[in-house]
């Protein structure tokens, strides 16, 4: 695998257990910086579990434990010295079900910013505009920044969640099936956005939609039953998969 981009996230023999049940088996991979990496696979295959391990959202599940090494910038995220809050600010996350906070659009964007320190009003205004522009939402909402975010359409809400995530200036964006609840037009907008954002962020995308992975990602990993079957450049994986399981899956023979 040629590597013109440095590694941002790296896993070595990384496993996850939910109580006695093992959910991930010895995952080893390297996710390059400033690229879009997609994880595909049937539901329950472990792709979301792996994604949620990167910013330690699995910590929230009672009885979840990890094993092996998972590093971001060479630091093991499960190391005792890691401050989970800081880690999560460096790693933005966009969820499948986009729920804005039931606050105004403006407050949704500034929520993450004001958690740690006081930020001046003018700086907040600036960041709100910048984040909304990045999420390609500015023109649609600039006149109603102080209206409730619940009034936005589904696609707008998802882009607001992206804006909310980028507002804290992360380096990585984790996206957990961000388009599964959206109509085709909104999906198109979000995909376009993902392509634009990869210059600034390292993006990891979980999707059940193979076409989407083929369209927007540079690298793709295929998960099956908690194991990483294959990880390669997207074009390689889709045109000449090395493993039989991958071929079966992408040609639609199962899953």
């Amino acid at each position: 695998m040629a590597k013109e981009y440095p590694t941002k996230i790296s896993a070595r023999d990384f496993s996850v257990f939910y109580g006695p049940k093992q959910a991930l088996f010895d995952i080893s991979l390297q996710i390059p910086q400033n690229r879009v990496t997609a994880f595909i696979g049937p539901s329950g295959c472990g792709k979301s579990t792996f994604l949620r391990s990167i910013n330690r959202m699995n910590d929230l599940i009672d009885g979840a434990t990890g094993q092996g090494a998972l590093t971001v910038d060479g630091i093991d995220v499960y190391d005792k010295s890691v401050n989970v809050s800081v880690l999560r600010r460096k790693i933005g996350m966009v969820f499948q079900k986009s729920i804005p906070f039931p606050k105004s659009i403006y407050e949704n964007i500034t929520y993450g910013l004001t958690l740690l320190e006081k930020v001046s009003r003018s700086e907040l205004d600036h960041i709100v505009e910048q984040s909304l522009r990045r999420a390609a939402l500015w023109d649609e909402v600039k006149d109603r920044l102080h209206h409730s975010a619940m009034g936005l359409s589904g696609g707008q809400q998802q882009r607001l969640c992206i804006a909310r995530a980028v507002a804290v200036n992360p380096e990585i964006l984790l996206m957990d099936e961000p388009c599964s609840a959206l109509d085709p037009i909104s999906t198109g907008k979000v995909e376009e956005l993902i392509t634009e954002l990869k210059d600034t962020y390292t993006i990891v995308l979980v999707t059940h939609n193979m076409q989407q992975a083929a369209r927007v990602s540079d690298y793709t990993g295929f998960f099956l039953m908690g194991r990483l079957i294959e990880f390669d450049r997207t074009r390689t994986l889709f045109t000449s998969p090395a493993k039989k399981e991958t071929e079966d899956y992408i040609t639609g023979r199962f899953g």
Binding site: G74, I75, L87
Partner: protein, 360 residues
């Protein structure tokens, strides 16, 4: 150098707040202990020391000698309550308990006083016979459940399976409304209306009696039985009902033969908690039962329950006296019984319900 992830984040206030929440969460547990402790503590005075209530006049020296042994700290020091009416005894704390009164000797033990069939707590030879109270409590509770449980269960069955939507939307909130009735209002209603009705219909001798009280208590029991039965019925998987109907059984057969038995543990819980409610209810029992301690199992004679005894006598009792201790003994019994009934439903019934539907 530390990586940015490793910036320590010190938020002592948050840690403090989180621990405060944990501490506050234990209040409910602490309160249960305190209730038991403090109600039981006052009861204990009855058995541990003999220096309460009606002192023995001709045994003053003996009492003095026994002083240190029968010493009962919470009563005398913490509570600072004069043992007897006489204000002058307050000046003699060490001997106040022995009292210098000229009364007849009373050599019965506490147990002898309790296992007696007369409740007559005030007088030279006070009688704390629990029998009339036990009978009164059992009688009224039984009547309340006899009326309240079927009404509550059947009403729940009706609103769950038979009632037209519009009627259900009236009955359900109405019964919830009944749950919000202050018991003093139900007691008042029984006192002025139910009592007259019962007397005119049945021509009974006593206007206020266990039956009137039982009817009143059933009004407190119905909402509880109704609510829990309804919960239990709605917890039965819908597929069970569909399967029964699909086999050709009618709506009523399904309700009575499939749904009700399936919800049985919940219905049992409903009745048990209903018993607890009737057993512990005070105001209705005071106002509607006639409140006379009688040894009679007849429904139409007055009755006196544990709770009503505490409610009507605690206000006039000499604090720290034997009578006071006996009232707390009744309180302890109420607490222990309600605790046991609750534990029974929590530990036994719920487990069975879970087992039945989740196969655990």
């Amino acid at each position: 150098m530390l990586h940015p992830f490793q910036q320590p984040q010190r938020r002592p206030l948050e840690t403090l707040a989180e621990w405060s929440i944990r501490a506050v969460a234990s209040v409910s547990i602490v309160v249960i202990f305190l209730i038991f402790l403090f109600v039981f503590r006052e009861t204990l005075s009855l058995f541990v020391s003999t220096d309460h209530g009606q002192p023995v006049a001709d045994d003053v020296t003996g009492q003095m000698d026994d002083g240190p042994e029968v010493y009962n700290p919470p009563q005398l020091e913490d509570l600072d309550v004069p043992e007897v009416y006489n204000p002058e005894t307050g000046g003699l704390p060490e001997t106040s308990s022995t009292g210098q009164q000229q009364e007849q000797p009373d050599e019965r033990t506490v147990w002898e006083k309790l296992f007696h069939d007369v409740w007559q707590p005030v007088g030279e030879q006070p009688k704390f016979g629990l029998l009339p109270l036990i009978i009164g409590t059992a009688k009224t509770t039984f009547i309340a459940i006899l009326i309240g449980a079927p009404l509550g269960i059947l009403a729940a069955l009706y609103t769950a399976f038979f009632a037209p939507r519009r009627l259900r939307n009236v009955i359900k909130p109405a019964i919830e409304l009944l749950a919000g009735f202050p018991s003093v209002v139900i007691g008042f209603f029984c006192l002025v209306t139910v009592a007259t009705f019962v007397q005119e219909t049945l021509g009974v001798e006593f206007r206020l009696n266990a039956l009137v009280g039982g009817i009143g208590l059933s009004l407190a029991v119905i909402p509880i039985v109704y609510a829990i039965t309804e919960d239990a019925l709605s917890a039965v998987p819908k597929s069970l009902r569909a399967a029964s109907l699909a086999l050709g059984s009618s709506e009523w057969q399904t309700a009575y033969r499939v749904m009700l038995p399936a919800a049985a543990p919940g219905v049992i819980a409903a009745v048990i908690l209903g018993v607890g409610r009737a057993f512990g209810e005070t105001m209705i029992a005071i106002m509607a039962t006639g409140n006379a301690p009688m040894v009679s199992w007849a429904a139409a004679t007055p009755a006196r329950t544990f709770a009503a005894t505490i409610g009507s006598e605690m206000g006039e009792v000499v604090w720290g006296s034997e009578h006071y201790g006996v009232l707390f003994l009744l309180g302890t019994l109420l607490f222990v019984v309600s605790f046991s009934l609750n534990a029974l439903t929590e530990l036994y019934v719920k487990k069975r319900l879970i087992k039945r539907f989740q196969g655990k």
